[in-house]
């Protein structure tokens, strides 16, 4: 371990380490970040959700979008797997079906960056315990 000899040293050190705690820090106020939830139940994984999830994790980071990528269980849209739910800050969540790598790229570029809706949205037709509160 190297010694910290100035405030600049400490700041540098902090930046080095900070990414490691990124996920935790964002989880304090997830509402202020882009939340990507990839359905990773058996049906999702069988249809190829795993590489989609990895793509989101990698690309959000690479394109400098502050986001949290998590996995969820089966949402019941097994016919449309892989499905991805995107929740932009201050907006209702939107679920995209039949997501492949090309579509994932489009979701990031169009919806996440521009807020522009694209084809393949599955209308929300359920209520959660959370929304009932």
């Amino acid at each position: 371990m190297s010694q910290i000899k100035s405030l600049a040293d400490l700041k540098k050190k902090r930046e080095e380490i900070k990414t490691g705690l990124d996920v935790r820090i964002k989880s304090i106020d997830p509402e202020n970040h882009v939340q990507v939830k990839v359905a990773m139940a058996t049906c999702g994984i069988a249809s190829g959700a795993k590489p989609i999830m990895e793509f989101f994790v990698e690309q959000l980071d690479r394109r400098n979008i502050p986001g949290v990528v998590t996995q969820t269980g089966c949402m019941g849209y097994c016919f449309a797997e892989p499905t991805v739910e995107i929740k932009l800050p201050g907006k209702d969540p939107v679920v995209f079906g039949y997501v492949d790598l090309k579509k994932a790229d489009l979701i990031i570029e169009k919806y996440i960056k521009e807020g522009e809706l694209i084809d393949g949205i599955i209308p929300v037709n359920y209520e959660t315990i959370d929304s009932k509160e």
Partner: protein, 597 residues
């Protein structure tokens, strides 16, 4: 540093650790390893989440899933279901005590909603044994800022402006304390952290030291810079082995980074910290007694002045601050006095940590802004009274504080309001009592503690408290008279006025406040020889209601002293001369035929 998608935080506070959180941690790590997820999921041990009621706690990030009462064997299902398949494990989720609904996200838990965590900001969030995680949370930035950009006077001014008052009990302004210590000229000065947490039921200092030890170290160094001291001492009770262990690790790591030691941040300021162990005497929380104990003398208080700021450890100017006071300092420096003094009430700024205990649903550690009402704390954060019973009183301030009742529930809590209501802030213990608590017994309990812990130096505390205890004991045994109540009050006032140290002066508070607020209960004990709560054994009698008794003989069979007589299928009777009032018959009776009166 590799980037993890998910973090599993396992509570490593003393409470959860005694319920096998170590085994949970290692099982989770093994499970993650076995499933080949080591580069995606990070498993770490954190400090206390505060929700000790339902420990051990496991929290999954980023979705803020809050698992309660986890067992080591649950590691497998958590990894297989939650981590791999993304399905929350329903049976481990926290449940709303009223609706019984599972709460998936800790943000929706009433326990956390009303809290504002400043002192506890890193508890349950970072790995306390890893200085890097503290640095990632802006750790040591405040120390860097004061050394590189501020003069000692500016630091003191900032703390004064923030309005912070010491969290150890009396509420003395921190900035003023620092200023006095800084003005006293000496070749050597000392910064002492008082970690001798002695109030029954209070454990916030322990949790801060276990969950975020670096915040205290950083604050001590800031204080050292401000008052011109180069040595820090943490006086901690040996009964806190986990806190000591984590402090040692933290001090070593800080030294390795050069954040403690010589020429910190390349300046000519040097500061180092050592630990001093106490044997757990209550009086050693008093600063003069604490200093004597550190010097190797008997832990007895001496008369102030001289204050430690003039002549403390080894006769040098010494600044003593409590753990909770110190833990807020780095944030005050970083965010500024104007940020801090907007939180709280007019004369009490910032937040206060309370340890909730007693007959409350959510036993644990909470932090709220000053000015939050007792009702919000007890009923919203604390989840109300256990088993749907009725609230009766809340004891704040430990053995130095008093009991507050229903009418005080809507008082905004701060140092001055609590004193006005006949109690005090103390270190922040809050013991909640329901209708089954006898207030005379409660006062007796605290007096028993004070008598046990009195150092014996001054007569008012040594003899006076003993007499108070004896009087209370007589009353609970039904041998008290109305004159005894006057005697209680008079003696309490005398002790208050004449005891040597703060602990002795406040020791009669539980008696005075219960006399003030629950006089009728005292009178019932003395005049009617009855204990309204049914707690004082000598004042109660078990009685069988003839209409309810079916003569099943269950009570007669369970009675250990054969005090119950009666034929089968006929009403039984209790022989009160023989009955030892153990209550076994009442517990056994299926027909609610046995009552206390």
């Amino acid at each position: 540093m590799s980037k993890y998608n998910m973090h599993i935080l396992v509570c490593g506070g003393t409470g959860c650790q005694s319920s096998q959180s170590d085994a949970i941690l290692s099982n989770l790590r093994d499970e993650i390893e076995a499933k080949g997820l080591s580069d995606k999921v990070q498993v770490i041990l954190t400090g206390c989440f505060g929700f000790c009621e339902k420990g051990p706690i496991v929290k999954i990030i980023p979705d803020n899933t809050f698992y309660t009462q986890v067992k080591p064997e649950d590691a497998q299902i958590i990894v297989e279901e939650h981590i791999i398949k993304g399905r929350k494990v329903d049976r481990l989720l926290y449940r709303n005590p009223e609706t019984k609904d599972a709460v998936g996200d800790s943000k929706h838990m009433g326990f956390f909603k009303k809290q504002l965590r400043i002192v506890l900001r890193n508890c349950g969030f970072i790995d306390p044994e890893n200085i890097d995680e503290y640095i990632a949370r802006d750790g040591y930035m405040a120390l860097g800022k004061v050394i590189s950009e501020m003069t000692p006077q500016q630091v003191i001014q900032e703390i004064k402006d923030s309005g912070q008052r010491g969290r150890g009990g009396a509420g003395f302004p921190t900035g003023l304390k620092w200023e006095i210590a800084s003005k006293n000229k000496s070749d050597e000065k000392y910064v002492v952290c008082n970690a001798d947490e002695g109030d029954p039921g209070a454990f916030m200092d322990r949790s801060v030291l276990e969950g975020d030890p670096h915040s205290v170290l950083e604050a001590m160094a800031i204080c050292g810079y401000a008052i011109g001291a180069s040595q820090g001492l943490i006086y901690i009770r040996a009964e806190y082995p986990l806190a000591i262990h984590r402090l040692k690790i933290a001090i070593d790591q800080a030294r390795e980074y050069g954040l403690l030691g010589n020429n910190i941040f390349g300046s000519d300021f040097s500061f180092d910290i050592k630990l001093r162990y106490g044997a757990g005497a209550f009086v050693c929380g008093e600063e003069t007694a604490l200093i004597h104990s550190m010097e190797g003398l008997r832990g007895e208080p001496t008369i102030k002045p001289p204050f430690p700021a003039e002549s403390g450890f080894k006769g040098k100017p010494t600044n003593v601050n409590n753990v909770e006071t110190l833990a807020a300092i780095p944030i005050i420096i970083l965010k500024g006095a104007n940020w801090y003094n907007k939180i709280g009430t007019e004369k009490s700024k910032g937040t206060k940590v309370f340890a909730l205990a007693g007959k409350i649903n959510n036993v644990g550690l909470i932090e709220v802004p000053m000015g939050t009402t007792l009702r919000e704390i007890i009923f919203e954060i604390g989840g109300g009274i256990r088993d749907g019973k009725k609230f009766k009183a809340v004891q704040t301030g430990g053995p130095s504080g008093g009991c507050l009742m229903e009418k005080h529930l809507d008082t905004p809590i701060d140092f001055d309001n609590l004193v006005a209501a006949g109690s005090m802030m103390g270190s922040g213990g809050m013991i909640v009592m329901d209708e089954d608590n006898c207030m005379v017994s409660v006062a007796k309990f605290f007096l028993e503690f004070t008598v046990e812990e009195s150092c014996g130096k001054c007569a008012p505390c040594r003899i006076g408290n003993k007499r108070l205890y004896e009087l209370l004991n007589q009353i609970t045994e039904g041998k008290g008279s109305m004159e005894d109540l006057d005697r209680l009050r008079n003696m309490s006032v005398v002790i208050k006025d004449s005891a040597l140290c703060g602990l002795g002066q406040t020791s009669p508070n539980p008696v005075l406040s219960t006399l003030d607020n629950f006089m009728d209960e005292y009178v019932a004990h003395v005049k009617d020889k009855k204990c309204p709560a049914g707690k004082c054994k000598n004042l109660m009698e078990y009685y069988i209601i003839p209409e309810n008794c079916v003569g099943c003989t269950a009570c007669a069979r369970i009675c250990p002293v054969n005090a119950i007589a009666g034929e089968r299928k006929e009403v039984h009777q209790i022989n009160h001369d023989v009955c030892i009032k153990c209550g076994a018959c009442k517990d056994k009776c299926k027909f609610d035929a046995i009552i206390i009166r």
